[in-house]
Chain length 394, copies 4
């Protein structure tokens, strides 16, 4: 991953104010490869705090806005206006903010879940297309080099026909009632009005589901879900298990939890094929475990010359040097920068079949969340997610 | 685990002839602690081979029988007759053989699945009780020291209320069509007529299910199952996923497979409670991973002075010295020997709440297999296993 | 590993009385494969206790002796006398006891360190040869299947020329002053008069050194040692590091400790060659990690069809089923039984280049201990162990 | 680690041109937290290439220099001149370049080994002090959060008195003769004239030695070294083992290698104390294994609330999210930025006893390399590194 090869992209951010970890994370990721220059934004709902934070980030007062719509109009009118805006606010505001920018032809990176319902998510996808803007959704775990390697191995047939997939994003971060102890993030993530969906499926589940789709290239045909609330008094479902039938009747399981006591991060996927299997865990992201039918285990790591080029391209360090979450997130931003630059500079678009997740992926994620809820409320009956209909229609 | 403290028990064996690994395994396990003396048996269907094997094992020609019923009657009549008989034949013959011995008041160790249906399994339980004989089922994984430790930790409340259980016995041993290549074990295990049940649930699934019950002390209230055949042309379902609702509505998942490509053994369990979680894997059996709500991981191992006495009792080696499958199997036999000796010698029965699995456990296993199949054939609808009815009735 | 194929060997034991773990371990190992029948012995210094233990083990009063020399003479005179005697007493008595049996033509299994000095160790080797008896030393770690696999891989050139070896037997069992708290084993092992050597090198170091020699086939040319006492007031050196120059000037390091705080067992070896490297750890004995020059890691396990036959021969269980310390110890006893039976029955001796360690190995171990001590007391100057002289002379 | 709180520091770079990975690594690390703005430099020996790279990095032609001395004078004269210069050239040029900047009062980050001999290293330390400039050496592994945690645990007595330390930086990156295949980095690192020292001790060994000193706070009193060349025809020693006596006669071992076949990165340290032990490996950097005298293992990870504040301060992500090499490197740069800003802005200097390594650490590293070589050439006799004399004098 080389140094910046051309003029930086101009970026804006909504959210990421006081105590907002996710905004900081976006900024770390945007800085790492030097592709973005943050020049505009709204850093929290409270105006004086927003201004202070903006100033500390080098954003001038003029471009530190009070309202997303105002910002969208003003930036669209500037010759040096933002190329992309990052939406890192709580979920309930995603739709309005993203719509404002996309509607003005400004590309958007919007946190998941994209919106609070599939209708609004589909609407964003439509607006983005109509205004020739990019809508990207940072399921950044799929941007790890070894995840890309896994996806390439599946695509190139190294595992043979896929038999079974088991994925889980089972964290223990909220295994106690943090929301009653004034924990800010726990408060909004367990508030169904703000979180957008009354379950962990909208939050961690969509990451796991995207990872599954990204590596295997398969879509959900139907699913059966179960939602639970482990922490007494919690207002959202903090645990979920889903049985999925993928394209070609391939069975899969998904477990999402924010109350898996003792777990740290807890994102992990295992893919079983006719000729071999794969295992990847986010807590050890620079290794990929491969097993053959005889039972021999091989451990791949980035830096090996035997990896697919598209995986090797994603690392910045030598063999054996670990990379982490921020590097994966920066990969997402670098893949996006390639496209944004090509559009800005009218240079040829790179072909990256396995590049960053877009609004369609965000929409499919929302449809997944809705289907799981529908199944749960129908005593776990099989449900066909709306994404499957769309696919069948295509 | 001390050396033999009193006269050895006299044992018989049915099965375990040429190429029968499981019979050999039983003999290793019986020998390790010196509690049993093998003096009678039928070692395979073919009589001359059975005699040769019996002779090599020190069984006299007189007590090397041709037929289980004949053996049961003859041994029951001898003053020095067998105290217990091990049934290690293919599944389709379990019922007739076990009935013969139990009916003559001879205790039986019968491989799982106990029989090919819950009616016959219940019949064996009834006969054993009626004739004052022990019926034991070697779900020997639960006899590992660290599994006992896990069960004791749950029982003593160290994990608080149980929230979720995830168990899998997903092996890759038959991930290719071995049965078409003359592989003896694959041949009978994929032959529904002999295997007793047309799925891996009857084989590996019952081990996983017993492990779950053993550690948590919870029973299945209802379940939803899915069966698949991964290896083309195979006559049994070689993969299964089950969603289970345990006592108190605790959710659980179970995955059983003989075609999880690349896996070696693949038995693993994770138990999540309010105050902590546990993970145990059969491929690293002398360690138990414990996690607290803050996310700290502690690794326990046998030999630590902080273990429950009932776990420490099960090890024969010092701190850091590994034990394996045969030692666990021998633990099963040692726990059984305690009871058999007490009965033979009319000494007080030891109190061992977490001792070896009996016919009831075997029956519950068979009922589990049946409920999974019923659910699968009803498009994964929830089914209540017969064991739940019994429990409710009690 | 098949069931006993011919008449059992008659065994005797010296030691292994009250609280003597090592004697029990020998008995577990001898029982597992059924090759030995314990019929004579002296089970501790105190006669009534010895008789009680012998009786519980099935040893008749007649063959429960009071004195090793008396027993040697009596057993040698019997037609059904012992084929082999296990010496599992504290180190200071090894020489006299082993001499008594070997001198009467009775084979001996003697715990390490063989004796308290190389002169007496050499004397035992001489006596064994003169009386046509086997002298075996249970460095049983080398009898693990995956260690055999490692040795075969080195022998067959799969690693190319060996470059470097790093071995450690660094236990934490005595990292606190246990000997002051009445801990029986700690008391004699930290008493230089009984332990035979005033350092952990004689105890754990000889196991590590044998493992190194066994896997690589290389011998020590010269060495430089450092001894430390970590636990204040301890009477022996409880930690040692040794730099070794092996055959062909291959460098190696050895670390032996009984005070490596926190370690459980702590035996581990890494071997680096021109074409690959190996790592084996006793706490995970059924796996062998292999790395190639590009940095790919492959994990082998027993049960894989790609292992060397001589390694596969040593396992009793299926793929993925763990084996442990007792199985390895039983492998030692099975390899020994082959030889003892062939000699007893005048059948052809099996060819097993990598079979059990003998008196020569025990002697080389003692010479290693002496050279390390000599180096330490000469400010770590290089010393040539006596074994190197012998080899040069040959 | 918060966002930039005040005006960025102005940075220059020497080296880091075409194919120079280490220069790129520095730039990633400098960018991550946004503390530095690269505005001047010399990016390789060839002028047109240097200009092209400088331009791509946003360096103006005016401040893209041809010569370090010229640059030092020019930048020192500017009001907006560089606050710090990074020296990322091959080792043989470190001294002259660093001297030029330090002599002009400009702070320097200089790659290790600092210089090709302790006299010149000491000279740099002297010049830095005389000109009130900071000289920092990027032993960035010590900037990992869990290494900081380890150092804090030792300092606060959680391990009790230190007994033993084992550290290794044994990589396999050059286990084949890469330098004969046109591998650029292998060519200069195995060329003693450019590498500065004819052994891997100067390269990887100094990282391992710094890590040992950083965590334990102990210094080398004397040492005994052995150097080997594993790859035939190689011009430098590519493997080394060192026995060290630390402050208070604490024994330690160090292994440095670039030819440890199969290893990826290979940096690892284990520290044993009276009350516990620690293990940290660079290939899994966000975990720290802690063991207590009873043998229980606890795994700590960043994000746990129980860590020392000074360790928690070094992470940018949530519990369970991995960080890697670039984040550690960025920690080095952030700690440095604090000091540089305080000096620039005349604000109070933060107190950070365990902050970044300076010229003194670089000098001690060079003295270590020299002592190892001296010992090797005197048949591994004990040598006292010059650093020990200095310390004794103090």
């Amino acid at each position: 991953m080389s140094a910046p090869h051309s003029r930086q992209l101009v970026a804006g951010m909504i959210g990421g104010g006081q105590g907002a970890d996710i905004g900081k994370t976006h900024r770390f990721a945007m800085r790492l490869d030097g592709h973005y220059d943050l020049q505009a934004g709204i850093f929290g709902r409270e105006s004086s705090s927003s201004r202070a934070i903006g100033a500390s980030l080098g954003v001038t007062a003029e471009r530190n806005y009070g309202d997303a719509r105002e910002m969208a109009v003003a930036e669209a009118a500037r010759a040096d206006g933002v190329d992309v805006v990052v939406v890192a606010t709580p979920n309930d505001s995603h739709f309005e903010i993203a719509r404002a920018f996309l509607g003005n032809g400004i590309s958007v990176v919007c946190e998941k879940p994209l919106t609070q319902g599939s209708a609004s998510a589909a609407e964003l996808v439509r607006i983005a297309a109509a205004n020739d803007a990019i809508l990207a959704v940072p399921h950044c775990y799929s941007a790890y080099a070894m995840v890309r390697q896994a996806a390439r191995m599946v695509r190139s047939g190294e595992l043979g026909a896929i038999r079974f997939v088991d994925v889980e994003h089972a964290s223990g971060w909220a295994s106690t009632p943090l929301e009653k102890e004034g924990h800010k993030q726990a408060s909004w993530r367990t508030n169904p009005d703000i979180a957008g969906f009354p379950s962990v499926v909208g939050d961690l589940g969509t990451h796991a589901f995207h990872l599954l789709r990204y590596i295997t290239g398969l879509e959900a045909q139907r699913l059966s879900g179960r939602l639970q609330t482990f922490v007494p008094g919690r207002r959202v479902f903090d645990n979920a298990t889903v049985e999925i039938e993928l394209t070609g009747d391939v069975p899969a399981r998904l477990w999402a939890s924010m109350a898996a006591t003792g777990h740290n991060h807890g994102l992990r996927i295992r893919v079983y094929g006719e000729k071999g299997s794969l295992e990847w865990q986010h807590e050890d992201p620079h290794h990929l475990k491969v097993q053959d039918p005889a039972g021999t285990t091989t451990v791949l790591t980035h830096g090996l010359s035997t990896l697919h080029d598209d995986a090797s391209r994603l690392t910045r360090v030598g063999l054996g040097h670990p990379e982490g979450f921020l590097e994966a997130f920066a990969n997402f931003y670098s893949d996006l920068a390639e496209i944004l630059r090509a559009r800005r500079d009218s240079t040829p678009l790179p072909e990256r079949a396995l590049s960053f997740p877009t609004g369609i992926d965000g929409l499919i994620g929302v449809q997944f969340v809705e289907a799981v809820a529908a199944s749960h409320h129908d005593d776990s009956a099989w449900k066909v997610p709306a994404s499957a209909h769309r696919k069948a229609a295509a």
